[in-house]
Symmetry: C2
């Protein structure tokens, strides 16, 4: 990576937090169609993934993840419109933050020690 | 709070991370003049504060915190110029991120459940 990577955490009015872990889980559920496959994809235990989904659902006006019923993916899980919106909004905030901080990234890069054993390029 | 609160985390080139906990610790060291008083102020164990200081110092070109020698505060700790700069840069990134995300905050607020027992105002 050429500069510090930025990630964000939101403290919601409900008292819950949404950060990179929960968003990565929602994105993995969106792409895999199940909580267990999503957990495997991002290297998280199924139990932790399930608890995080409960937490996310409880912090919003409606659930972000629901059971997918019927069809080829019967038994799976899908993002609701609210779940999709949360992911989009989070990534938009992150992207704004990232592009508004170029000067600060350069400044912090000068103060940061390089990783050892990094090939000189 | 009237909208989601945002905090940021930076993943540095060194592999270390700087987030709200480390920055709050640096700010508390700056204001109290010692690691132990800073740890008390932010409700962190002295051991954890000390480990975090070691981690921060190891991730930068030079230490962010050093021993304050002599004078009224002999035995205390102070931020170095690098330490002060890290705090300033972090707070600047956070502030840019916060002000560039107003529309997203409003959108996320509409999707968020209100805290129970919150007084109506």
């Amino acid at each position: 990576m050429s500069h510090p990577r930025l990630s964000i955490r939101l403290d919601l009015a409900s008292g819950e937090r949404i950060g990179p872990g929960k968003i990565a889980l929602l994105e993995a559920i969106r792409s895999t169609g199940s909580i267990s496959a999503a957990a495997r994809q991002i290297g998280m235990s199924y139990r932790r993934a399930w608890l995080l989904v409960e937490e996310i659902n409880g912090s919003l006006q409606g659930p972000a993840v629901t059971a997918a019923t019927g069809g080829r993916r019967g038994g799976g899980a899908v993002l609701t419109p609210i779940g999709k919106q949360i992911v989009e909004i989070y990534r938009a905030i992150e992207s704004h933050a990232d592009s508004s901080a170029r000067a600060e990234f350069r400044a912090i890069q000068k103060l940061t020690r390089k990783r050892k054993m990094r090939p000189t390029s």
